[in-house]
Amino acid sequence: MSFSDDIENEFAAIIHKRNNVVADAALDLYANMIKASPVDTGELRRSWQLPKEIRRNTWLVSNYAPHALIIDGGRRKVATKNGMKWVGSEQLQDGYAPVIKRTEKTLQKELNRL
């Protein structure tokens, strides 16, 4: 085993660990999104798809419920013909962005440890 082989193996091990950390973060995000989802009929909570790796270190966590976009925008007023009207969820006033940001912070801490 030469020195360059050692370096290569070490590098491969770090990459492997990094891939695992990112995959774990995707699963954590999926679980947190489900937990944070407000419930009325349960459609939004049931509509979360399992994380899917779309390319190296890039995972997709998605929801196919038709009202997911509205909930994600948070609780706010929009203009209608009859004046301003509330949309979004009372249970999830800020949308999913805080959940995503917390996951990002945790992921960054884990990656910094590598």
């Binding site: 976009l69 509205i70 994600d72 925008g73 948070g74 706010r76 929009v78 013909k81 009207k85 949309v87």
Partner: protein, 141 residues
């Protein structure tokens, strides 16, 4: 989050706008875009935006200093999505990477479009949502 971080930003933003009685507006391509703050009753107009402040967790570091972070979220309501993009550009010019020095020192990030051109059933305007991160360090006393 310290309430001063909210009120300092609102005070600063009001100073960048033009006052019209109790209302404030920005002028984008000759059109008045009214700016509504939390607690105000919104009156719809051709173009308007409202501000919401979302604090995230406060982190305490080993030295005892605290890091407050969060984002300011603007819901921009316009009659066309293209004009919404122009309002986003105007906000970016006004806000990107600015440092606000009132009672607190607040560092702003870069405007990010979160959602663009939404129009829901019964709504009269297209909605674009823009976020801008803020950071404030509070030293240990």
């Amino acid at each position: 989050m310290r309430s001063g971080i909210k009120s300092d930003f609102e005070t600063w933003l009001m100073a960048q706008c033009t006052a019209d009685g109790i209302k404030y507006y920005l002028t984008v391509s000759g059109v008045r875009v009214y700016v509504w703050f939390e607690g105000q009753t919104i009156t719809p107009s051709t173009a308007f935006l409202d501000l919401k402040i979302v604090p995230l967790d406060t982190a305490r570091v080993a030295t005892g200093a605290k890091h407050h972070s969060g984002y300011y979220r603007f819901h921009i309501h316009t009659e066309t999505p293209i004009f919404g993009d122009m309002v986003v550009d105007a906000l970016a010019t006004l806000l990107d990477e600015k440092r606000i020095e009132e009672n607190y020192l607040i560092d702003l990030g870069v405007c990010r479009t979160f959602q663009r051109g939404n129009k829901f059933s019964e709504t009269t305007h297209y909605e674009t949502i823009v976020d801008i991160d803020f950071d404030h360090w509070e030293c240990a006393v």
